[in-house]
């Protein structure tokens, strides 16, 4: 899993990042969320961000920063944001500085993460955990991904896919800790 953390960025793209690999206890949370973008060129709209097709992309068409808004129906615990961007294909359209903000709505978004990508080619993983080991996830109604600048100072940006991951449901409700061994998991539910 490539880490893009604060400071000096390596959108670190080894061959492995051509495939999306995510931990088992995470699941994609944004299927039922409301997605919107600040601007787009006709034909390259927000749908292209979610169509599981790496050939289609969203192209913005306005002033920077270009923004993708994701609004959930209830507060969700999010841990990971994954973007697919490709310098080789998109060159000056490739995002370079990205800021992730979270909050209850448009009025109180607060930046929780900022990354800078350097010539990324593939899936870029942006973890949302804070430095505090207790905060592995962010519990929020809304997430906003801001593209602050592009490579080679391009004006508009291309993003091909975005996925947002959060915690799975605990298979056993009201348990302080989850089970890890088969002996307990086998007996943990009635199916």
């Amino acid at each position: 899993m490539a880490e893009s953390s604060e400071g000096e960025e390596e959108g670190n793209l080894t061959g492995g990042n051509q495939h999306l690999v995510v931990d088992d206890d995470l699941r994609e949370m944004a299927k039922k969320a409301a997605w919107s973008v600040s601007s787009c060129k006709p034909g390259n709209g927000v749908l292209s961000l979610r169509d599981d097709n790496l050939d289609t992309y969203w192209q913005s068409d306005g002033a920077q920063p270009h923004v993708v808004n994701i609004q959930f129906q209830k507060k969700v615990k999010l841990q990971l944001v994954v973007l697919y961007v490709d310098f080789k294909l998109d060159e000056s359209y490739t995002p370079s500085k990205i800021s992730i903000r979270a909050g209850d709505g448009f009025h109180n978004l607060k930046e929780i993460k900022a990354v800078e990508l350097v010539k990324p080619t593939g899936w870029v993983y942006i973890s949302l955990s804070g430095s505090d080991p207790r905060e592995t996830f962010v519990n929020t109604f809304m997430l906003q991904i801001d593209v602050l600048s592009n490579h080679l100072n391009g004006r508009d940006t291309h993003v091909r896919q975005v996925k947002v991951y959060g915690l799975r449901l605990n298979p056993m409700p009201r348990q302080p800790f989850q089970f890890t061994s088969t002996e307990l998991i086998t007996y943990s539910t009635v199916r």
Binding site: D23, D24, D25, L26, R27, Q79, P133, R134, E135, T136, F137, L167, R168, L169, N170, P171, P173, R174, Q175, P176, F177, Q178, F179, T180, S181, T182, E183, L184, I185, T186, Y187, S188, T189, V190, R191
Partner: protein
Amino acid sequence: MYRNAIFMCERLCAEFPSETNLQLLASCYLQNNQSHCAYYILKGTHMAQCRYLFALSCFQMDLLNEAEAALRPPNESSAEVPNGAAGHYLLGLIYRYTDRRQNAIHHFNQALSMDPLLWAAYEELCILGAAEEATSVFSEGASLCIEKQYMHDELSSKSSQASSDDHIVVPNRSLGVEDVSPRQLKDMHGYDVRDISRNYHGAASNQPLNGGPATFSFYNTPSPMATQSQLSGVAPPPICRNAQLNGPNLRAFGADSSPRSVVNSAVPGPRRKFVDEGKLRKVSERLFSDSRQRRSMRLGGESLVNTNSSASVASGNGTNHSSKYLGGPKSSSVVSRSVTIRKGQSWASENSDEGAHYDIYDDSRLDITTSSSSPRGDARSLEQEGAARPSGPVVVSGSRVAAGASEILGLLMILGEGYRLSCLYRCQDALDTYIKLPKKHYNTGWVLSQVGKAYFEMVDYMEADSAFSLARLASPYSLEGMDIHSTVLYHLKEDMKLSYLAQELISTDRLAPQSWCAMGNCYSLQKDHETALKNFQRAVQLNSRFAYAHTLCGHEYVALEDFENGIKSYRSALQIDSRHYNAWHGLGMVYLRQEKFEFSEHHFRLAFQINPRSSVIMSYLGTALHTLKKNKEALEMMERAILADKKNPLPLYQKANILVSVENFEGALAVLEELKEFAPRESSIYALMGRIYKRCNMYDKAMLHFGLALDLKPSATDVAVIKAAIEKLHVPDELEDEDAL
């Protein structure tokens, strides 16, 4: 072959429109799985058998109201349900699916009393939870009942033989008699096409065919060999079955007198043909002298010319012998089917015997009422004593009937008792009962999968797995119970075996809901809940009355946090089968998550009442009680769960939880130490112990245990929680905000 039959029937109906012909056409359509065609043709018919077929097609098209109205017309409350036991069975199913449990039970019981070998009715009673003990159902009384029916058939066939046009209304017999022609449809597979067309030609030009739906009638359809015997022994193809209850039949019959002559000429043809092909015929030829044979055929021919209906009735005799009293349920029941064929073979020879005998007696108006028991095998003496009624063969065969019947009933008794007990979730008793079966029956797919199911209900997954594997070996084609097998593998987390099973099942039968359930379980095990849900939805589409598919859909919805749809799915499962404890449990879980504790406790309790053996349900009930702050009861429930199943560590863990919340730390630690024996590498045990030590202010031990817990690779959230706990080790608990406990 059905296409041919349908085509011919349509010509017949065009030529002689009448209800009986329509009935035949409808039965052809039903055999060919075109119930909508049958529905349209039979709309508005009045004959009993037609109404039955109409109800059946409505049932298959899911139009339960119309089906019910057909079987039980609302303005005639005292009307007899058509088609005897099968009719009652169908009516019972309709009531079951429209939620009228008492009526359903009543009708299933009726069906069983009319035909004690209708296993499917007993099964349904077990599922509804209202079955009587198998010993009382499949008892001596039942055996006598079967015997009586058999005898009755004989008598009635004699009487209608004696009186030419006067059809004696005998429900049993007519039902038995109807089997033949549609049965021929089925059994004709091996025959020459010409035969069939000739057969049909004979049929078409002959009186309307009353062959009711073979598979749906009271008696199971006669085995092919027996069919052979009738055909050979009897003049026209035994299609001129007019022993229906209704007048219109007779009239139709009478009206078609003209074509009969055509039939006569057609007769020798098929008969000869069948003589060639009937293996049984050869057997019977060996039994009889040739002269007798020819004589019987000749007599049969004569009788045809002389007596119109009696000839048909004579054929009816043959039919009756062959129509085994092994009235089986729908042909899907493997056990009874195999038994039928077995008996059929042993009986066939005797039947041809009797068929021949009865032909001889066609001419002579015999007095039916004699009950002399002249010895059977002595054909010559029978010939001489023209007046002697062939009650000899009847009586002898009667006792053999009794013997056969009681043997079958003995078998059914064990199977029935086992099934009833497993539906009541008295799993250990059910297992003990199944053990009593003879080896050859125990090692069949059905029984082994029932055994597997019983182990599953007792939460003994290893045994269940081995039983199911044996079942797969015994009948690799059978999908019965394989959905439960896939769930067992899911619980055991055997993803290789599970995916193998799923692949096999899909390749065996793509249209069975069980295969898709297995596939869905496979994906669910890999946490791909969306695909799993899709698979389960497919299973539901394939058979919307398969309760378990709905329950599994519910589980997947809940895993995707879509509680609304989850609840809906569980409710649909419960609508189909209100004793499906998995669905009750699922609902309880949903309410637990939604923190509606009262509801959750209620649902868990319902699940527990249905299946009191499952220690997992018990421990969840305990948890629910704990959330309601009824800690004492919760602990009791946990104790019960622990006792119920020594191998299940879950109740121990839950018990520890409860003890922690009531601040009984020593007790909790003791339990957790015990639990360590069960699952030495379980991180949550150490985490909980760490927490307890922290509460007791034993920081070193707490630190040690948290460290151990972290080493054992807990899930990501737990890592965070534990790390946080370590950091805040010296901070009193009240200042932390704990979110899950």
